[in-house]
Amino acid sequence: MEKVKTILIWILFVAAIAAIIVLFAYVNVNTIPEKQFARYQAELSKTANTDTTSLNRENEIKALNKKLDALNKRTQRLTPGNAFLIINTTNNTFELYKNNQIIRQGRCSTGSFIHLEVDSTKSFTFETPKGVMTVQNKVTNPVWTKPDWAFIEEGLPVPPPGHSSRREPNVLGDYALKLGDGYMIHGTLYQRLIGSPVTHGCVRLLDDDLEAVYTTLPVGSKVFIY
């Protein structure tokens, strides 16, 4: 009995020591950073002037309201008033806007981020560029002019420019919107892959979405890609 009591007391000592260590560790790890931030914020909130009697409150508010109105107008003018498209390359989604309202949203496919290395001097990166682009041209029943990488990635010899094997109809869907530098918004035969990052840099849409985008966006519309 006495032996059990002794063991229990020693266990109590060990538990008390462990509790002290855990308590102080918690204070060091969590409480000190909290206190640091509280002190920092409190010091930066101090001001020597708490007197507002000298303030012509009404006039100041009037002036601020005027400024605010002007800024709001300028800010609103920045968003395109007509139709525009936003592409999210991480989640592979799109939003089509008209008159500052989303009129259609859904899945799309963007660049696969594959870096195809041909040799030490030549490589291709299949990435959809981020930023703002403009619809430069719209085409119905587009024909794909296959670039060099389309042959290289299939292990085929690259034909000379303008060669008939480069022309491939019926693979880009019913419409294409050209964004410049070879990038397009177009359809695909591989509809089940829409929503995945599988393209060579272009934006692929499902047939219905492509038609909506094609009819809504006139030439000159902005396409924001992030």
Binding site: I9, Y40, N65, T75, G155
Partner: protein, 253 residues
């Protein structure tokens, strides 16, 4: 009692030794930490004109709110002149947004932030400093900004057919960046559990971050306030990949 103390002398000695050591360490770290805060405060205040610190209008809540909105819009207009995507962190509305040329492309709701009240009470001068357009000076993340998959061009059609596209690991995002106005931001992605419900681990994450900090620097020499933000992982990744390296960030509170 005396007999008891005598019998368990080593137990008491061990207990009080640990207590004194832990207390000494904690007091030392606390003093050093506060010293670092004071240094950071003095450095910050030395850069801000006194007239701004003591702006009388700032004491009126109505004027303060209008001035905050004016500065937020002014920063947006300035950023709209740039061609790059930038990040807006609106703590007043709990929103993180990606914007380009003045158009908001993406908004994500802040699910949780720590400290819960980050810079909500500042004098006018330090508020201006906090909300000025800042640039990311140093950043780290556990996933790549551009998740490039390198493959060698196949030599023939047979080789092309054998190419496997390995998937890239996709852990929950942890994106840490320091801004040139001396604020550190940590954005953490929130995943879904097996029932497709948000798997919230705020306390666990905070403990991990705080332990990491103590491990990195046992004693704080240079204090930088850190804002922790939790977003849905998909949103967090979209924002992380949208913002370029050394990107610009603007706050609103």
């Amino acid at each position: 009692m005396k007999e008891f103390i005598k019998r368990y002398k080593f137990g008491f000695i061990a207990f009080f030794t640990v207590l004194v050591i832990m207390l000494a360490i904690t007091v030392f770290r606390y003093m050093k930490s506060m010293e670092a805060v004071d240094k950071a405060v003095n450095k910050k205040l030395s850069l801000i004109p006194e007239a701004e610190i003591n702006d009388a209008g700032w004491n009126s809540p109505e004027i303060q709110e209008k001035k905050k909105e004016i500065h937020w819009l002014e920063r947006h207009l300035t950023l709209a002149k740039s061609d790059s995507l930038n990040l807006g962190i609106n703590l007043a509305d709990s929103i993180v947004q990606v914007q380009l040329k003045g158009t908001v492309l993406f908004q994500a709701k802040i699910q949780k932030q720590n400290p819960a009240q980050f810079y909500n009470e500042l004098n006018y001068g330090t508020y201006l400093d906090f909300t000025k357009i800042a640039r990311i000076s140093d950043e780290q993340a556990n996933i790549l900004k551009r998740p490039l998959k390198r493959i060698q061009a196949p030599k023939n059609e047979d080789e092309a057919a054998k190419i496997k596209h390995d998937s890239i690991p996709d852990p929950l995002l942890v994106w840490k960046f320091k801004l040139d106005n001396q604020i550190e931001v940590v954005i953490t992605g929130i995943g879904l559990n097996k029932d497709s419900v948000a798997d919230l681990r705020f306390d666990e994450d905070m403990l991990r971050y705080n332990v990491e900090k103590v491990k990195q620097k046992w004693v704080t020499e240079h204090y930088i306030p850190t804002l922790y933000i939790w977003l849905n992982d998909k949103d967090a990744k979209a924002i992380y990949r949208a913002i370029p390296e050394k990107g610009k960030v603007v706050f609103r509170n």
